[in-house]
């Protein structure tokens, strides 16, 4: 299998889907001439021309609004927002329109729109560029939410998102763009709602969201080598739909669950998942479901503070240990 970077895998998914389907087109700030703030759209303007790779003004609500409109009349737009923070400017189009039109029109129209955007901290981009808003979109019925953590999933899920007739919030992670990984050649679309078990183990289930799936994988190795605890690591890959079957089955085996996410603790992805786990597996729990989350603060600019504001390997290790004993 060829190795490629996360950003290259996304680029390949866009190219393949644009080649396969004329109705797929891209819109966003600086995606054409500048080839994207994170170079995900590299080479696509040259290959597909201005009609299908459109640079837009700084106008998130309009970009998404055009996406909703063009999706309703039969195109398959993929819009890029420069960060998930900026998507808040387009909340009206996303929540009141994209998510709801199919419902409001009784299924007569659908909205096959993909909104790509990076989230997450680590590059000192401060509180207006570095947040993790998975939970905000997870909240909305009518939206699908993908959070790929590997190049293979980035490609497979983006292809699936473009082909899906529902609006998809596609959250990439800024620090993962340069990560390399194996990507199957001629791979098709991945399936939404299918979690990946990244590592099998009998002792504790760790669910890692987005980049935290990578962080949790390191934590799982430390738990094994230093504490003789074999963690089962689950990457849900999509938060809507969410593969609760895989998670619950794992918790029934391990009796313990830790959820690692980068977002804020209150009303977060982990808060929701912890509620679901206790509803569906209460009689199998040996410990409260524990969460490892970002700090309950706006993301700091200062490097040491920023590093302290999102979870690292040792936090996941500590949480996993705390399901066994006082730490």
């Amino acid at each position: 299998m060829p190795e490629m970077r996360y950003r290259e895998a996304l680029n390949e998914a866009l190219r393949e889907e644009m080649e396969a389907d004329e109705s797929v087109f891209l819109m966003g700030e600086d995606i054409g001439v500048f080839q994207g703030a994170f170079k995900v759209t590299k080479g696509l303007l040259e290959e597909f021309g201005e009609r299908r790779v459109r640079d837009t003004p700084i106008s998130e609500n309009t970009i998404v609004g055009m996406g909703v409109g063009s999706a309703m009349v039969g195109l398959r737009p993929v819009v890029e927002l420069m960060t998930v923070n900026f998507s808040l400017l387009a909340m009206d189009q996303i929540v009141n329109h994209a998510a709801a039109v199919r419902y409001m029109f009784g299924g007569q129209v659908s909205c096959p729109l993909v909104i790509r955007m990076p989230g997450g901290a680590g590059h000192q981009l401060g509180p207006t560029h570095s947040h993790s808003f998975e939970a905000w979109y997870l909240h909305v019925p009518g939206l699908l939410v993908a959070v790929p953590s590997t190049p293979a999933d980035a490609k497979g899920l983006l292809k699936a998102a473009i082909r899906d007739d529902n609006p998809v919030i596609f959250i990439e992670h800024e620090t993962l763009y340069g990560q390399k990984g194996e990507v199957p050649e001629n791979g098709g679309p991945a399936r939404f709602g299918e979690a990946a078990i990244r590592r099998e183990g009998d002792d504790v289930t760790i669910v890692g969201i987005s980049r935290m799936a990578v962080t949790a994988a390191k934590a799982a190795e430390t738990l094994s080598s230093e504490h003789e605890i074999e963690a089962e690591l689950i990457d849900p890959r999509t938060l809507r739909p969410l593969d609760m079957d895989t998670i619950v089955e794992s918790v029934k085996k391990t009796n313990r669950a830790v959820i690692a996410e980068e977002g804020w603790p209150h009303g977060g992805v982990g808060a929701n998942l912890a509620a679901l786990i206790q509803e569906q597996a209460f009689d199998y729990l040996d410990s409260p479901v524990l969460r490892v989350t970002g700090a309950d603060v706006p993301m700091p600019y200062s490097k040491p503070l920023e590093q302290a504001a999102f979870p690292h390997e040792e936090h996941v290790v500590q949480a996993a240990l705390a399901t066994f004993r006082d730490v």
């Binding site: 504490h227 074999e230 009796n255 199998y284 410990s287 066994f324 004993r325």
Partner: protein, 416 residues
Amino acid sequence: MPEITMPRLSDSMEEGTILKWLVSEGDEVKRGQPIAEIETDKANMTYEADSDGTVTELVASEGDTLAIGEVIAVIGEGDSSGAERKQEEKAEEPEDKEEPEPQEREEEPEPQKPRRTAPSPNGGGERVKASPVARRMAGEMGVELAELEGSGPGGRIVKADVEAASKGGATRAEPAPAAEPERGEAGAKGQVEIHELTRLQRTITRRMAESKATAPDFLLEAEVDMTAAVELRARLKQVADPAPSYNDMVVKAAASALREHPRVNAAYRDGKFELYSRVNVGVAVAAQDALVVPTIFDADSKSLGRIASDARALAGKVREGKITPPEVSGGTFTVSNLGMYGIDRFSAVINPPQAAILTVGALKKRAVPDDRGRIRAREMMALTLVCDHRILYGADGAAFLARVRALLESPLSLAL
């Protein structure tokens, strides 16, 4: 007024026999308090009240066999209304109550609170702290939660505790004892017994293979003159209980030397050296069909006596199968001793990711020439240091081992 019916205490149970009432009419009972011993098709079990109240009537007598669902007793509400009812009843039927109540009460105090958390002074028993899965399994297996000591955070009773109780002493280290050996086809090797590995055995298999496959190891051997240590131990025996063993002395000497040689108290991991601030010495203990390495934490700062008592306690727990994961993790170095089997010297597999393992051979009298060439009988013992060459080079390992030997040959400082 809740009626207590014959409970279903096993899946196949159809009827049960009241072996013994643990309460009398008129007694106040708390939820969770054992009220009766019931014999089922499977076992004799204690049945607990599922609400607070006052026993108003014991419908079934001891020895009665009743079908599931038949009323065995009636428990009234425990608060003021119950008290009123009790008074009414007392007024109505005074003669019935007289004889059973006083004597039976005196005889029965002991089964009522078997080792349970002491009830608070106001009489309200505390809710037993148990995880949901432990609670469910205890119910299924007929294990009395109140009699268990929890090993989870904050003393919570967890699944492993219930499993251990139901199996009489199995632990998390050995959660599922291997199933009955399977018998395979008879062949040139005769009948083949197939044993599934326990989880602990699977872990050992994986880690030992990983160690051998990844660590380029080499051996350093040293003969230690233990004559002075033997004399010291003989003297310590008269004052210390437990008297430190030679292995405890080796642990203490190694711990002191580890403090002075940080590269030995370290690990090679992912292209980096990790040096640890704590000196935690693991001591390999053979358990039934397995190998467990409990950890003596901060062995460098513990006295020899403390190391001896810690080691005794940990080895005891291993043999009883009561060792817990925190007690077998966190080691930074390992000592393994087969001297008791008369093994002179041996090599061992490094416990990854540690930098080295020290093995201890048997103590034997040997003829050794002294400084002036005179042959003397000395108590000799071989130490072998197996090193991971990625982090520990020959000279580093040698300096460490020489220090261990020096400490053991002049052992007085170990006793400090």
